[in-house]
């Protein structure tokens, strides 16, 4: 935990520096007669982030925060595994959307999560993985008039059939 805290603070400090640098594209000073320039607000607030990171590091050095007093690992192996499987699943979910369309990605994600992480029966998995995307399709495309992303061209015929049904 101790190492983790300072690493995170360091990363966030780097990000603050990047934001400060990026803010300088617009004037960061106080323009006479006009008030602050376009970069003023983000620049000085990013500077505030940087200072806070400094204060966090100082507290860490003095051992003030609970994390800085603990020598436990951030997470045990089980924790890491869980996060990687679930978080990775989410990343894969979003990555799949442009390929197999939103609804396809939902179905795949549900199968992955329910069957392989949740260890539910195939029956329940398949029922949910078909019912939910179809339900959401009707909800969004027909009722709410919101088009969800469609996949690569091979998903198109499926959508065309569905549109013929709902419109």
């Amino acid at each position: 935990m101790r190492q983790g805290e300072i690493s995170l603070a360091g990363l966030l400090a780097l990000f603050s520096l990047y934001l400060m640098w990026k803010s300088t594209e617009l004037p960061i000073g106080y323009i006479r007669g006009q008030g602050p320039g376009g970069g003023f607000w983000p620049f000085w607030l990013s500077f505030g982030m940087l200072l806070s990171c400094g204060a966090i590091a100082w507290n860490w050095w003095r051992g003030k925060s609970p994390a800085s007093q603990s020598d436990d690992p951030i997470m045990d192996a089980f924790g890491w595994r869980t996060i990687i499987w679930v978080g990775g699943g989410l990343v894969a979910f979003v990555a799949l959307i442009p390929i197999v369309s939103m609804y396809g990605a939902i179905a795949l994600f549900l199968i992955y999560y329910l069957r392989f992480l949740g260890r539910h029966s195939w029956l329940l998995t398949l029922i949910l993985a078909t019912a939910l995307p179809i339900g959401l399709f009707f909800f969004f495309e027909a009722a709410m008039l919101i088009s969800m992303p469609q996949g690569m061209p091979f998903t198109q015929p499926f959508f065309d059939v569905m549109y013929d049904i709902i419109y």
Partner: protein, 503 residues
Amino acid sequence: MEVLSFLTDGVLLALAPTNLFLIVIGVTVGLFIGAMPGLGSVNGVAILLPITFLVPPGSAIIFLAAIYYGAMYGGAISSVALGIPGASTAVATTFDGRPLALQGRASLALVTAALASFVGGTVANVFFTLFAPILASLALSFGPPEIFALMLLAFATFVGLGGDDIPKTIFSICFGLVLATVGFDTISGEPRLVLFDIPGFLRGIGFIVLAIGVYGIGEMLWTIEQTRGEITTTNPKMTAKGMMSDTKEAVRRGWKGTWIGSLIGFFVGILPAAGATPGSLMSYGVAKMVSNTPQEFGNGSPNGVAAPEAANNSASTGSMLPMLTLGIPGSPTTAILLGGMVIWGLTPGPRLFVDESEFVWGLIGSFYISNIAALLINLAFIPLFIWMLRMPFTILAPLIFVLSIVGGFAASRSMHDLWLIVIFGIAAFFMRKFDYPLAPAVLAIVLGPIAEPTLRQSLLLSSGDPMIFFTRPIAGPITIIAIILILLPAIKLIRGSRRVEEA
């Protein structure tokens, strides 16, 4: 008492069988739309708009008011049951609603939210009926310096909200405020902070992206990791008797927050630039400040649910006021309603109350009826939402993830924002591990886009002289109160630490 007779006509119109039917349908539809993370009354009203061409205008208005109310009640459901604020107005509801749900008191939270919303909506309706014209001129007297002062006050009421770790809280606030500046600088008309020069950032980072990332993904990952993915949420029981006692408890422990929320919400809501979100945030802050048991807030206080819920309902009704009397939309929803009125051939503006009084009072009358219908229908559906919470966690979790992603897309319509949601979610998980409070960042991203432009507009007005915030008759007192409120905890802190050192 011309007003009362107009109002009676409006109410009677809403009570006609067909219209009552429309109200029931509208509220139910609105409730479910509002309960979807990412969707809110704006979506409900937008899809309804073309339909208003087909039904008689009286019924169209009623249907519309019903959807509006339903969606406002629905926002709390997502905050409590899923832990994701469905709309920016419901952020503060998660602060105490979610802990209550995790303690197995979801039904208490939902009942409190419903009752508070009802009171908030009713109070606002009464104010609206009695004082509309005076309030409209009050709204006009709020220029940029006044709005900025108000934002300062909103921040001030939130000083105490963060965790115990002050640098981390400050980091979180600044982080939210900086994220809010990404995209485009209205004042100079230049693109700004387009991170890594990815064009997707031109649209800025919306509140909903950060909120879904932090609450829908980050918080869920944290819960899964903490509980080792084994728990079902503490088994909430649902009986008729239980609900009765919840109602009693909600009244007993939530009335204070409800009143605070109803009043603050309405007055902040009528200001076109401010709207319902700052109203609900300030109410939460004030409720905590005046509470005898502030330590309960954030750990499941019914007052903490009641205040923001009463406020957002009250403010949403209040935000109709500038729309009707000035033709100025205070929120995206009212903007769409305004478009609808133009389509119907009405000219929103100061003459509307005089020229089209039947329309205006018909609308207000249907607010009263919709509010009652929304309360009853909402209470009737609570068992369903509770039942949802009883699903095994390994089913509920993927459903929440899926709803977060589709809801996120529905709100933003961009793949870029979906990636941001995932990135924020994973970042939020690690920050949460190290006790960074993230609620301040979420608040900041809501208030920042109002605070920064008004600050700069004010300074342009005064040619760069900051005294403008102190010398104007309305802005002055608000600014001073805000500064005192901000300094108070700091002074206490310094005194406190000095005492410790002395001892």
